[in-house]
Symmetry: C2
Subunit: 110 residues, 2 copies
Amino acid sequence: MGATKTEHFTDKQNAIAILAKALGHPARVAIIEYLMKVDTCICGDIVNELPLAQPTVSQHLKELKNAGLIKGSIEGNAICYCINEKALTKLQAYFANISDSLEKKKSTCC
Amino acid sequence: MGATKTEHFTDKQNAIAILAKALGHPARVAIIEYLMKVDTCICGDIVNELPLAQPTVSQHLKELKNAGLIKGSIEGNAICYCINEKALTKLQAYFANISDSLEKKKSTCC
DNA sequence: TAATTAGATTGCAATATTACGATAAAGATT
DNA sequence: AATCTTTATCGTAATATTGCAATCTAATTA
């Protein structure tokens, strides 16, 4: 035990969970926000922005990449990271949909 | 080591991370979706909906509650759970904001 | 080519999460 | 009161995450 039982849930539920999990750490939220702020891709520089050691940052970047939230391409000596719009759009759509439903229902209880 | 260094990040980043982390497991996504589907609060019944043992479900409910995503109130014998709209609205606003920015920038790279 | 730079990988320790059997707590039913 | 129902808690095992020092890799520069 200890491993998540992904096989019992739908693909969509797992997909959302993977994206949410990747954002489930403040350092990774900070990385996304930094990539948003600097508007263009960033080659090098991310490590200096975070209060964490280089291997730790590298690991967080890897997780964001595995989850599909960022893309990284080799740019000479450095690596160019940028946001994967698709993933964030998926999250946006998911929560917009939930908000819509909540709006409509205006639940009568609690 | 092993513990997240929350103190190095902003309150907002930590707040988003807490909400995202709570949704970082398919069972918890499924719980939220179930609460959405049944439109009203649910007293009892959640355990039967999930392919997990009762203590496991109870634990997931606790985590959703700690993160502020759901509310639970005692209803006689059972417990009445429902969605905390505020938390989901916060997530919706966060990702809508990001999507907006991405839309405006139409990044030129990658 | 040697030194430098950017980033990944390895290895490890500390901590957290996931899952569940057993058990407890508390109101409801008989 | 004894039993049932519902949910929480405890204890524990398996696994995952977080963080970093040390090291490695590969392109760059001197």
